[in-house]
Amino acid sequence: MEIPIIMGTETEYGISVKNAREQDPVAASTLVVNAYKTSKGDAPSAASSVTWDYEQESPLVDARGFLAEVEPTISEADTNSAVNDILINGGRYYVDHAHPEYCTPECANARDLLLYEKAGELILEVSRLTAERLLLDNQEIIIYKNNTDYKGHSYGSHENYLMSRKVPFDTIVDGLIPFLVTRIIITGSGKVGAENGSDETDYQISQRADFFEKEVGLSTMVNRPLINTRDEPHANDKLYRRLHVIVGDSNMSELSIYLKAGITSIVLQLIEKGVVGKKFSLKDPVAAIKNISRDLSCQNQIELADEQQRTPIEVQRAYLKLAQQHLAPEERTPVVEDVLEKWQYVLDNLEIDPMRLSQHLDWVIKKKLIDAYRNRHGYEWNDAHVQMLDLQYHDIRPDKGLYIRLLKNGHVKRLLNREEIVHAMRYPPVDTRAYFRGTCLRKFPKHIYSASWNSMIFIGKSGGLDKIMMDRPHFGTQKIVGELLNNCTAEELVKEIRGNASKSY
């Protein structure tokens, strides 16, 4: 494999203020995001004055990873720090449209991705608690990690995968669509009812399926495509592509998040190897995802382009088989091996009876909870209590969130422990450029003017600005810059990098 996959997720959270005279989601989101800075959850707090570098000028391509350039003066009086926070774990936290949004740092494997996405949930909860103190006593901020208000408004959970630019986009589309459409049986979060003019149903597997209207396109907010064509690699664009996947649900279940990132990155490796092709092309992918979402048995067949019929489980099994056949020994890292095992386990059990996974996958956990609740009270599917239960499954409060209650009481499976999640709120992954970003923010908060995914601007002694480009996401790791960062001042760091532009950082 030429370029090891690097991945990250962006989660938009739903937000509401209970007992507010008027709902203003932009103000509420801003309050929550800004509260995190004052909470010192992201100490050293001076990092909170660091702005996001929106200038995506990237003429500074250096095949070795970093390149420094000098900007003569501070370009503009940026005030974007008000709704932007670059986190010392290397992630980003800001207000997007009318939602608080958390982006994980770049992660090199699915377990780290899970860890940093879960750290994001804690970051939101710390922010929420801090922000709530500024409100009236009877007001509560409620935050949901879900994707819909059940009235046709959806907000996203996006995955990003860094890939080699060499793979033609059409090849990715052909190989990926059947996988994404069928993977919802593993990654769906479950939803009561239908939306967006789709066929009525009591309960469906995916929160997002109803919102997709075409196969490929650029938009993310209306007429959403299964494959998004945004081409903004935040890295050297001659070497890399950042595949932006917008079709996924926000997951609470650790296994759902872990497998979502794990199996998708494996399938992208297979596509890169050229072993997927058009084997599984579907006749009508947009209709198929809605049909699969409504088939709680996972046994109904969908039609392939060549008129063969397959169940979603069979399509997933075919991808799994390709992975078992074609991944090279060095690609079968312990995490990849574990993902393959759990992928098989989940498919085997879905085949027998999906309800066997009622401690594992979100859509099944939620279904089981709702079934028991309805049985007890005799509520219809469209009863407000049932809808409330669906919504509250995604509540991030430890005392109110139903998923979190199930987790605490040991009713759902864990892959992580609490200590490592808390650690991930404050420390970046060590094996991507997030290490450089997060560590610099921790160590030199007063010396950093702004940052973005692929740049950091340091404030020089004379007040001038030094921009360090980080165009190679696999560099800037602890292995490469750990010792340097431990033993230098900010000035020395910039000098060292600028003085050694020929050296790989």
Binding site: K18, A98, T130, H153, M221, Q359, H360, L369, G410, V422
Partner: protein, 65 residues
């Protein structure tokens, strides 16, 4: 509550990581789950937002991405 306390609160109850047992039949774990679920259901009406009808109706978001 100070932020340190909040974080402590959040970190309390560190459970042992419980690896998914691949060789355990899900149905075995299931019986235990059903019992525990009953306990949760006992609590759920207290946990759920009181005014479900009104709350659900008023939960309106602007579309995101």
């Amino acid at each position: 509550m100070s932020t340190e306390k909040q974080q402590e609160h959040l970190t309390r109850d560190v459970d042992e990581t419980e690896e998914i047992q691949l060789n355990v039949e899900p149905s075995e774990m299931d019986e235990e789950f059903v019992e525990d679920l009953d306990t949760l259901l006992d609590e759920i009406d207290e946990i759920l937002e009181e005014d479900s009808q009104e709350f659900v109706e008023n939960y309106i978001q602007r579309g995101g991405q």
